[in-house]
Assembly symmetry: C2
């Protein structure tokens, strides 16, 4: 049992949570029981699960006897210092992040979702969840977007980040080039002035670009892209995750109706 | 200038934020510059704006010279104790809550949105924002749902709670009776087994019920209601705010296409 906050594994974990990314060892930090289940059903390579002493029986029950997952029990007080126990529920899984090629993320049959500066990890995670739900080929996290490995993004994605192909780290010009090279037409969501999604041809292979909550889509992705504006009344904008969900839903509805 | 955390107004404010509701004096707590603007453009009766000393020039700029809003300047350190300054941006507006009748909330032309146990204030706020955006008649906060006056709900609603008719405090059986008495057909969102929203008749006057994130819709509202399930693949569910946004969007799309 770990009883010292100075334990190197716990220190590495705290740093990862603080900076919102992978641990120094290169593992993703998945909080909650649910994400442990999702990591297992998604065949992620689980390195270890850190379990608060008081949550051990529940975790063992959940995993079943045949589980080969390595558990490290952590004294409750020490666990609380490493994590937000309320949101972690006393279990934190460290797992090897999945790895995808740009072709895997961009070239499947559904639309590719491009996150261009989305800041809120809850929004970004909900968008990836909607991307999986509506059959997107994958997700591109353009530089300047919150990390897919931010523990809060992972939590909001509710397991979808373990399955949906995604790539990260491309500059916005590189992202644009990656789409152009593959002949993928680009739709850009705009606060005003674009076509209604129901009037655009979203049944074909395309990329759907969602901009940052404050500044929208940046110029290199806007250039030559077709604008999409969800028809609304009264509000300045929708919540970004709701807007992305609606555009992905509409694309899926058109594909289903067309077939 | 207020320099004491023991000031009765500040104590009242802290209690309202802690319990997620109105102040003892019956005012709603609206954080951020944006919500102050929205309160003014929505003709809310603004009681007072509390302003952190360091934000005073910016608030005065924003309000303009002709403003008659009463400002109370609060020493920065004292302001920080009363609020989460990062999310409040140094300004907190106290305003009289709008008041609506059940008929106003339920009887307009668009669908009535019924929140039946939604727990997360960010989700509830985003749903009200979508309700306004897509022309809902109003929103019913059934007992057991997060308060519309939780400062986090108000923030996520981005001003829509100042304009969309809503009522709160009905028990679930009372909510059901209020809909039945008015002859409003009920659609209930379900994780599985319901009709696709695109195949349901959402162009007619109806109520759309969204259940709690963990337990869905409760029995008295489910009874006799028609089920709606957004067609998804791979995920257990969508983010609740995204799901509500999609159903409201679909209803609006059908009304527009039908007309």
């Amino acid at each position: 049992m770990l009883t010292s906050p100075a334990n190197p594994l716990l220190k590495d974990l705290r740093r990862a949570i603080a900076r919102g990314g992978l641990t120094d060892q290169g593992y993703l930090v998945a909080e909650t029981f649910h994400l442990l289940d999702e990591a297992l059903r998604s065949n992620l390579e689980v390195k270890v699960a850190l379990v608060a002493e008081s949550a051990l029986a529940a975790v063992r029950d959940r995993l079943g006897r045949s589980s080969r997952i390595r558990l490290i029990v952590v004294e409750d007080a020490v666990f609380r210092k490493a994590a937000d126990t309320e949101s972690s529920q006393g279990v934190i899984t460290l797992a090897a992040p999945p790895s995808w090629t740009p072709d895997q993320a961009l070239c499947g049959p559904g639309p590719a979702l491009v996150l261009n500066g989305v800041q809120d990890p809850g929004n970004a995670g909900a968008m990836v969840r909607a991307a999986e739900a509506f059959g997107a080929s994958g997700v591109l996290f353009v530089k300047g977007t919150v990390s897919p490995f931010n523990p809060k993004t992972l939590r909001a994605a509710a397991g979808s980040l373990f399955r949906v192909p995604f790539i990260q780290g491309l500059e916005v010009e590189e992202a644009r080039a990656a789409l152009d090279q593959r002949g993928i037409p680009v739709y850009v969501t705009l606060a005003r002035g674009g076509a209604a999604p129901a009037d655009a041809d979203l049944a074909r292979k395309c990329a759907l670009v969602i901009g940052s909550e404050a500044h929208g889509v940046s110029e290199p992705l806007r250039r030559g892209g077709a604008g999409l504006t969800i028809p609304t009344a009264g509000v300045e904008s929708l919540n970004a995750a709701a807007a992305a969900g609606i555009v992905l839903y509409e694309a899926q509805r058109q594909r289903t109706t067309a077939s």
